[in-house]
């Protein structure tokens, strides 16, 4: 493909010969230091107890039917969750990409809110709907349906934002041309739109897959005894049985499975690369016309409102539904810690959450965009391998990473109990998001667009600034919003990082939920509502950022 050559060559003059290697070296160093090194350390400690390789652990996991069952369940529920999420969210991705409607940016921020809520809280809302005494007439708890529904609930925004992000930049006139030439709606979608969206669909699918592959809280709360993922087994082996070698063997199995799947993904992605005409999003969207389009818009927003909004509304309702009717009692008493360190002061929790969130977001965006440039402009097995490696933290067990930090970071400086590790761990999970959201856009930027701009006399720096940068900025901001959400929701390894007293909003919620008493439950719901509002607000703010004269997107 001549285009590939064009992209490779384009990268070269982008940065001086001295700085170019840094584009690769900085993300690689980040990954090596914060992921590979701790991972290697914990696996070495667990699998070579006393210096000899522990074959028994591997033999052990292969022999246990329960563990084999967990491996199989992990795979099929992740595949099914991914497909369902794609199916549920693709129409909404279209709506957000193509239609202008009042409250659009608010709606876009709102659908990201589920992403940050702790599973204990979401679990309680789902049980209130689907559980034995729930609002729905059927008891779906302890069934695969509850697990799948929760996975779609959590990951809906990933698909809407990732696929919608690219879709918004695709020139709708291509589809219009196909329609004019006589293709039906379905055929146009199948043969014109879908191939153009492929990199974004693959990226979103990969993220959702990895997330659900390592699902933990949802499975424990909604799955009952019958279902366990490899992640749940790793947790049980570690925390309940203190069986580190078996846990490590399971972690290796999990990593191997994730790597294999990422390899398949990389091959698929390779085939799917095509460069295309991207345009600023606002040129591609318009107000819906006619009852059909309005109906489609309403149906999708309605689905999101019921499916995502329903559980959220339950939490909000509980936060104001006091013994004396609807009141703000719980919110008012949030600050009353009663002189005990049992509960976290909400102000401090909020401040820590935002501090960690912004730091993690900055790290993730800088590292993620650099890495995305490398994987989308670079070529050959190096870039492909690097791309795969970048995704791995998302598919690695939180226990493994957390304990890895513990055994790795005691020398030369003891960082094991430093709060610095918290935003770093968050950014480790967030970087793959930024890469997956920005890389499809970068890959899709059509070389001829630049060429013709250059031909018209624009210097390359200006070409980059006026064509690539606005498109990349937009997707990087979406990535930033997710990075912030990941940190606000305390994703990943942080549950297994030893920390000094630095409560965050999710931790404050856990502490409230850990004690009996109706006041504590109400306050936990109030704190969850605060987390939701902070998330939506922070995402709105991030997406309003403008870089240079990138214009309205």
């Amino acid at each position: 493909m001549p285009e590939t050559g064009g992209r490779g060559r384009f990268l070269r003059p982008l940065l001086g010969p001295l700085l170019r290697p840094l584009l690769f070296l900085i993300p690689a160093g980040f990954l090596g230091l914060l992921f590979l090194y701790p991972l290697g350390s914990i696996l070495a400690v667990s699998l070579f107890p006393g210096g000899d390789f522990d074959y028994a652990a591997f033999a052990d996991i292969l022999q246990r039917p329960a563990l084999r069952g967990a491996a199989w369940f992990t795979l099929w529920q992740a595949v099914l969750s991914t497909l369902l999420t794609l199916a549920a969210a693709m129409p909404a991705a279209y709506v957000f990409a193509r239609y202008d409607f009042p409250g659009k940016s608010l709606a876009r921020a709102a659908i990201t809110v589920p992403f940050v809520l702790p599973t204990v809280v979401v679990g309680s809302a789902f049980l209130a709907l689907l559980g034995p005494s729930g609002a729905l007439p059927v008891d779906l708890s302890r069934s695969i349906w509850a697990i799948l529904a929760a996975h779609v609930f959590y990951n809906y925004a990933v698909v809407v934002r990732t696929v919608g992000g690219l879709w918004a930049h695709l020139d709708p006139r291509v589809e219009e041309a196909a329609r004019v030439l006589g293709a039906g709606r379905l055929r146009t979608f199948w043969e014109v739109t879908l191939p153009r969206l492929r990199p974004a669909i693959a990226a979103a699918g990969a993220i959702v897959f990895l997330f659900t592959f390592t699902s933990f809280g949802v499975i424990i709360i909604l799955g009952g005894l019958r279902y366990a993922t490899i992640e749940v087994e790793i947790y049980r082996q570690t925390v309940s049985y203190l069986n580190l070698s078996v846990a490590a063997a399971l972690a290796v199995l999990q990593l191997a499975a994730v790597s294999l799947i990422l390899l398949l993904y990389a091959r698929y992605q390779e085939r799917g690369i095509r460069q295309q005409q991207l345009r600023p999003a606002e040129e591609n969207s318009r107000r819906p016309r006619g009852p059909l389009e309005w109906g489609f818009l309403a149906a999708n927003l309605g689905f999101a409102a019921v499916f995502l909004g329903g559980p959220l509304l339950i939490l909000i309702e509980r936060s104001v539904n006091t013994a004396e009717g609807y009141a703000l009692t719980y919110y008012r008493s949030l600050g009353e810690t009663g002189g005990t360190t049992l509960f976290a002061p909400p102000g401090e929790a909020l401040r820590n959450s935002l501090l960690f969130g912004v730091t993690a977001m900055l790290i993730a965006v800088v590292i993620g965009v650099m890495a995305a440039v490398v994987v989308s402009y670079g070529r050959g097995p190096m870039a492909r391998g690097f791309d795969m490696l970048l995704m791995l933290p998302l598919g690695t067990s939180a226990v493994t990473i957390g304990f890895g930090f513990l055994v790795a970071f005691d020398y030369p400086v003891d960082l094991r109990t430093s709060p610095v590790l918290i935003p770093l761990a968050h950014s480790l999970v967030a970087v793959p998001f930024v890469v997956r959201i920005t890389a499809p856009v970068m890959r899709s930027i059509r070389a001829p667009l630049r060429e013709s701009a250059a031909m018209l006399g624009a210097p390359p720096a200006r070409v980059w600034r006026e064509i690539d940068l606005p498109l990349i900025t937009r997707s990087a901001l979406v990535g930033a919003a997710f990075a912030l959400a990941i940190s606000l929701g305390e994703f990943g390894a942080t549950a297994f990082i030893v920390r000094p007293d630095t409560p965050t909003l999710p931790i404050a919620i856990f502490r409230l939920l850990g004690q009996p008493g109706s006041l504590n439950f109400g306050r936990a719901m109030a704190m969850s509502t605060v987390l939701m509002v902070v998330t939506a607000g922070a995402i709105l703010l991030v997406e309003r950022l403008r870089v240079g004269n990138t214009g309205e997107f």
Binding site: S240, V366, F403, V498
Partner: protein, 418 residues
């Protein structure tokens, strides 16, 4: 037609024709972007700084010390005062910084550790390391270069593993005389009992024992009766500490041998429409009828839960909405130990003494909702009135628990699996 032409036009400019020229031009202006790259890297270099300052803030506020150096790293007592001074401490001329590793449920009144510091000049920094199981794992993993000087919160279900791992330096506090013999599980005093609690069945007073309602069950065996069908929710012992304690209680009660074993009991419970929740939060708040929207009037919780229900009630309550079935309660004892490898053994001993002192012991109930180990400690009125002390709690030998934990849980899963 115009649409088609336009889209054709945008697609058609040759991809190869202008390439050479474009590249030429780019080369000429490469430096400008180079500067942008430089800026990017500059921002990146600034990040660690912002991070450090950010975390400095956090620590200051939490009343903590600056970054903790591991005790094993020759953190001699002489080097400590600088960090202390920064915190504006009063007291001893030679104050020390002692690190206490504990689980996430650790809590005290706000002034308690400050009071210790005023008395001894020893500042205690608290590290929270997840739940009790995760904490013990972390202590074992970092045994050669420990994170802390003292660990608190290892309970009797994990004690044997902790002792096996050889984590502790023995210390016999003089205050141990005030601790009942049956709480002192390690004769070598490698660990010191600090508090104990009971995992007990709680019931909803509005659903049981009233007119026309089934009576409150008096013991574990009654729960298999048809009148309690669909009434009980327990936690999964594989993922929940009270769940494991309740399983151990049934093993202690019904035994492993004989006509009717614990396995038989659980088979009957399961057949009586038992509900298993993943964790305590879910069992209590989503399924227990006295606490939320749940529909099950019997739940595995703690003997202190009714007291917490009163203390954390929205409106003042005369009586707890829940009650405890004291029969079949499992006793969890929590221990503290001095981690071997500490350079501050003397200070660590002082902390252990303090933890057994009346000041600390009497602070335990209303913060951690468990009972003080020191017999002389007075219970707060809420505990006297609403928490119930089981007269004959169940326990199992710690070595048996360690040897069989995994086997029991796997067997239990096989029996109860729906």
């Amino acid at each position: 037609m115009t649409i088609l032409e336009e889209s054709d036009r945008t697609r058609s400019p040759g991809t190869t024709r202008h390439r050479g020229r474009g590249r030429e031009r780019r080369r000429g202006h490469g430096k400008r972007i180079g500067r942008a790259g430089l800026l990017l890297i500059f921002v990146l270099l600034l990040l660690p700084l912002s991070l450090l300052s950010a975390c400095g803030d956090g620590e200051e506020d939490a009343g903590d010390q600056a970054a903790v150096t591991a005790p094993a790293e020759n953190g001699t007592e002489e080097t400590e005062p600088t960090t202390q001074a920064a915190d504006g401490d009063v007291g001893d001329e030679n104050p020390e910084n002692l690190v206490l590793m504990t689980h996430d449920s650790f809590a005290l009144s706000e002034g308690t550790l400050t009071s210790f510091e005023e008395q001894t000049g020893i500042h205690v920094q608290v590290l929270q390391a997840g739940d009790a199981g995760a904490m013990l794992n972390q202590a074992i993993l970092t045994k050669d270069n420990p994170l802390a000087d003292v660990i608190f919160g290892v309970d009797n279900t994990f004690l044997s593993r902790a002792l096996e791992a050889d984590l502790f330096v023995p210390y016999e506090s003089e205050l141990l005389d005030a601790v009942p013999e049956d709480l002192r599980l390690d004769e070598k005093n490698r660990v010191t009992p600090i508090d104990f609690g009971y995992v007990s069945l709680n019931y909803d007073k509005s659903a049981l024992g009233g007119p026309g309602q089934p009576p409150v069950p008096e013991n574990l065996a009654e729960l298999t009766a048809p009148e309690y069908r669909g009434m009980l929710v327990v936690e999964n012992p594989a993922t929940s500490s009270p769940g494991l304690a309740f399983l151990l209680a049934t093993i202690a009660e019904f035994g492993e041998e004989g006509d009717y074993t614990w396995q038989d009991y659980w088979a009957e419970l399961a057949a009586n429409d038992l509900l298993v929740a993943g964790g305590w939060e879910e069992a209590y708040y989503s399924h227990f009828s006295a606490a939320g929207e749940g529909d099950r009037p019997l739940v595995v919780s703690y003997a202190s839960s009714p007291a917490a229900e009163v203390i954390f009630a929205e409106q003042e309550l005369e009586e707890a909405p829940t009650g405890v079935i004291t029969d079949g309660s499992f006793r969890q004892i929590e221990f503290a130990g001095i981690l071997s490898g500490t350079e501050k053994e003397q200070a660590a001993r002082e902390l252990i003494d303090f933890m057994l002192s009346l000041e600390f012991q009497e602070d335990i109930p209303l913060n951690m909702f468990v009972f003080p180990a020191n017999e002389n400690a007075e219970l707060p009125p809420e505990f006297v009135q609403f928490a119930e002390l089981p007269s004959e709690p169940l326990t199992l030998d710690i070595v048996d628990i360690e040897a069989n934990r995994e086997k029991w849980i796997e067997e239990w899963t096989g029996i109860v699996l729906d």
